[in-house]
């Protein structure tokens, strides 16, 4: 009984002296160092709070954060949309009537991207799309802080074509297809006629 009382007081005092040390310890603001720093886990002095919008932890330049697409390098191969585990990438392609350009690594661009939407609200940040991309045009950036007022604002639209342009290209493609079809028919007819 006596021991219990003494033990109670000594342990309570131990805790109280610990907290009072912290109460009067340095109230210095936290110095922000990246997690890769050797001293990162040794920072026990001062306060621990990172005052977020004013301070933020440095992060690698290419972290697994939000996606970005460099449309000039995109060959609209649709691989990213196919590998995506949560189907957050939505691509509509239109075949071009001729080679429309080259990407920076020399691949030929043969398709127009009428639509290239990424729904960041669905994205699970696995990074598979960046791995399969043959031209490395889809990358993850260091941007992680984004707040929107409309859910639809989280669907990032990367396509640089307007609806009219897309319709125009579609019409050209249809025309070319029709011409090809006509030429084919004509050729078949000629073949039949020749027999």
């Amino acid at each position: 009984m006596n021991n219990k009382v003494i033990n109670g007081f000594t342990t309570a005092w131990k805790g109280l002296s610990l907290t009072i040390r912290h109460l009067f310890a340095s109230n210095a603001k936290r110095k922000v160092v990246p997690a890769s720093d050797n001293n990162y886990f040794k920072q026990l002095e001062g306060t621990n709070t990172i005052q977020y919008p004013k301070q933020s932890l440095p992060i690698p330049e290419v972290g697994r954060y939000q996606l970005d697409v460099e449309m000039d390098d995109c060959i609209v191969c649709d691989l990213c949309a196919k590998i995506c585990p949560v189907n957050c990438i939505d691509i509509e392609s239109i075949k071009a009537t001729e080679v429309i350009g080259q990407t920076s690594d020399g691949s030929k661009k043969m398709l127009y991207a009428a639509k290239f939407d990424i729904d960041m609200a669905k994205c699970m940040y696995c990074g598979l799309c960046t791995i399969v991309c043959p031209t490395e045009c889809i990358v993850m950036t260091n941007q992680y802080d984004r707040t929107v007022f409309e859910l639809s604002d989280l669907t990032y639209k990367f396509s640089d074509m307007t609806a009219e342009e897309a319709a125009e290209k579609q019409a050209l493609l249809d025309k070319q297809l029709a011409e090809k079809q006509a030429a084919k028919l004509a050729a078949m007819k000629q073949k039949e006629g020749g027999v």
Binding site: V5, A12, G15, L16, L18, T19, I20, H22, L23, A25, N27, K29, G46, T47, N48, T49, Q51
Partner: protein, 356 residues
């Protein structure tokens, strides 16, 4: 006619004091807890976040007062008022200086002890009226706890009253300094009536009053539902205990009364044990420090400093010690504090007869 004006002025003054204290107290509590846990606490509103609690108050005023559909409306609406008024009325008999006391009641201590137990009723009304199982559990715990802890607190108080031979708060206060008309003895052997200061305080008038002070302090933590005795509003178990269902100003009043209660119980222990408005500085030879620092203005300063120091200790304890379990709480009260307080009371009687 003019004395009515004085009454109103005093009433409003005390109300303003408890409101301002609640604002400052909440801010202090948040800062103290933050620094103890190596955080920063409020920093955004005003310089060092000093306007934070004012902003919180403004927010609470604008909030809708929601009465749950299944609640007992009368009890639910009346409870915060009763809780606050019970604590607020306690300030009526507290002395602030040699000639400064709202009402110098003969039964002052008894009155205070009685009126703050009405808070229990308010808490039970809040818990029952909310018709919510967390609320009723919280209020049942609170009532069990407050009623239990009033016994050691009462005995600790009685041991002081037996030494002081008065229930009048002002008389008890006057006895602990150079203004005392009967002699004051330090631990029963050294006459300090002319020296005063810290040596004349009640905790040094008899050694067992030091123990009585610790008992009363622990019991007062339990009575104001402060950690480590905060099972009535244990956040991790009961959401917020008896005030779970309250919103807006009703919630604010429950909060107000918690902080007023903290100050009130600290002030009671200051008056009973720590020399009330008397100065801690003694007369040393030609240096009449005690004479120079006694008076109404000094009285307010000393009693404020002492009470705020005790409030600070309450906060320090809250952010250090973990919450007691119900059975531990009861065994501490009934098996440790009550017998000790009873022994203090017996020693007080013997002391009064043989040593004073």
């Amino acid at each position: 006619m003019s004395f009515y004006l004085t009454y109103f002025a005093i009433g409003i003054g005390l109300f303003a004091f408890s409101a301002v204290f609640a604002l400052v107290g909440v801010y202090a509590e948040r800062k103290v807890s933050a620094f103890i846990q190596d955080r920063l606490g409020p920093t955004e509103t005003g310089k060092f976040g000093m306007l934070q609690t004012l902003a919180d108050g403004l927010k609470l005023i604008q909030k809708e007062l929601i009465v749950p559909a299944a609640a007992d409306k009368l009890l639910f609406i009346m409870a915060p008022a009763i809780i606050f008024i019970a604590v607020y009325m306690g300030f009526a008999a507290m002395p602030w200086g040699p000639g400064l006391v709202p009402t110098s009641l003969n039964l002052g201590l008894f009155y205070i002890f009685a009126i703050i137990s009405i808070e229990t009723l308010g808490i039970l009304m809040a818990g029952w009226g909310s018709n919510n199982k967390y609320s009723i559990l919280g209020s049942m715990r609170s009532v069990a706890q407050i009623i239990s802890y009033e016994i050691p607190a009462g005995f600790a108080i009685i041991s002081v009253v037996m030494i002081a031979q008065s229930l009048n708060m002002q008389t008890i206060a006057t006895q602990q300094g150079i203004l005392s008309t009967e002699g004051v003895k330090f631990f029963g052997f050294w006459d300090v009536s002319k020296i005063g200061g810290i040596f004349a305080w009640n905790i040094f008038r008899a050694p067992h009053l030091l123990i009585a002070f610790v008992i009363y302090f622990i019991a007062s933590l339990a009575e104001s539902n402060r950690a480590p005795f905060d099972i009535p509003e244990a956040e991790s178990e009961l959401v917020a205990g008896f005030h779970t269902e309250y919103t807006g100003m009703r919630f604010a009043f429950v909060f107000f009364s918690e902080y007023s209660m903290m100050f009130l119980v600290s002030m009671i222990s200051v008056v009973l044990f720590l020399g009330a408005w008397n100065t801690p500085l003694p007369n040393i030879g030609a240096l009449h420090l005690a004479d120079w620092t006694t008076g109404n203005g000094w009285g307010i300063i000393w009693i404020l400093i002492k009470s705020l120091a005790l409030v600070g200790i309450q906060m320090w304890i809250r952010w250090t010690l973990p919450r007691l379990r119900v059975d531990q709480l009861m065994s501490l009260c009934w098996k440790v504090l009550t017998p000790l307080a009873f022994a203090c009371m017996l020693i007080s009687g013997v002391w009064r007869i043989f040593l004073m």
